[in-house]
Symmetry: C2
């Protein structure tokens, strides 16, 4: 296998473990995602997961040494997949190196794209947000993927915008916090707090981006 292929597979998490899944293993993952999302990791029992997956409890531990390993093997692929677009070089170039007039439309595209992903994986989003607080392993993965990779790129782009006088002069960390608060606040409301409301998703996304852009524009 070439180094390149290896790298891509590492990113996409399609190495052995994820690619060749036994049917029963898929049932286990599906059941675990459902139950973890419903009652939280700590309140979920392996016996209940086994029951919902139509599998013997021992089968779970054949594939995952511990209950926590099951959680991690569910959450970390989601986290890396969710942040993949940020690493795609053509995307990164567009967002972070093109003139700032395009930032708005690109943020819009990005949010729409990641919104669809969140929509298709709402239970996983829920699990990540709920369990992050309690599991240092997940926090580390988050730091690796976000603080060390995405955050610096973001910051560079913000500095450029500031130089051009297009951005408020407040600390980058604050700006990033405001953007993420707005986006996550929308996603959490949309998929966790009130998923059953009649949402006009496209409009909400547009309004959210407008809010962010005007909130951060130089006055």
């Amino acid at each position: 296998m070439t180094d390149f292929k290896k790298m891509v597979e590492t990113l996409e998490q399609t190495t052995e473990k994820d690619r060749k899944l036994t049917p029963k293993q898929e049932q286990i993952l599906k059941a675990a995602v459902e139950i973890f999302a419903e009652k939280g990791y700590a309140s979920s029992s392996t016996s209940e997961i086994a029951a919902r997956a139509n599998v013997a409890e021992g089968t779970i531990f054949r594939h995952y040494k511990t209950k926590k390993e099951l959680l991690i093997s569910i959450v970390t692929p989601f986290m890396t997949k969710f942040t993949l677009p940020f690493f795609a070089s053509h995307f990164a170039n567009k967002v972070f190196e093109k003139p700032p007039e395009e930032l708005e439309s690109l943020l819009r595209t990005l949010l729409k794209n990641r919104f669809e992903f969140a929509k298709e994986n709402a239970p996983l989003l829920r699990i990540v947000i709920q369990e992050m607080a309690f599991h240092p392993e997940l926090q580390e993965k988050f730091q690796e993927v976000f603080l060390k990779e995405i955050f610096p790129k973001f910051e560079e782009a913000l500095n450029q915008l500031k130089d051009k006088g297009k951005l408020v002069e407040i600390p980058n960390a604050s700006i990033i916090r405001m953007i993420i608060s707005s986006v996550v606040g929308f996603l959490v409301t949309r998929f966790i707090i009130a998923p059953d409301l009649n949402w006009d998703d496209d409009k909400e996304i547009d309004d959210t981006i407008d809010f962010i852009m005007h909130g951060l524009a130089r006055k």
Copy 2:
């Protein structure tokens, strides 16, 4: 007891249960808050709480029928206290009925005020945010206090601002979501995600309010 006094006490949660607390009972509450905040409700054991409180395990169940009742008796007073300023008539009048030029400074005052309260009760804030997802009882309390009381007042004020052409013409629910996302996003970052950073709290509050006001101003 007069009806008025009764009412105030109901609001302030200083009825028997909360006022005349045994020393041991206070130790239990303190220990429970600490441990719930550290490891989450589901992963906290009553034996550990008893141990940290220097109390026999039976003592906990003398005062609280179940573990969940202990959680509720911790969380609901916090929620009502946190939202109390919104009910204080002089405050409500100021925020919701005065001309909109004052909205900004009043929001600033309010946020600074609630920020101090959150600062003093950071572990409780953490518990509420973490456990809300899993306990319908807490969600109901939240709806009672927020959706039925604060939300309508907020909406009325927003409508007035819209009539005067001071506010973007997007749905009130979206506006409220954006405001709350920004505020909660700040509080969560400040007290849960990165409490150990060197925070310039006053500046962050000012910047956050600026962000909200500019984000929501009519263009």
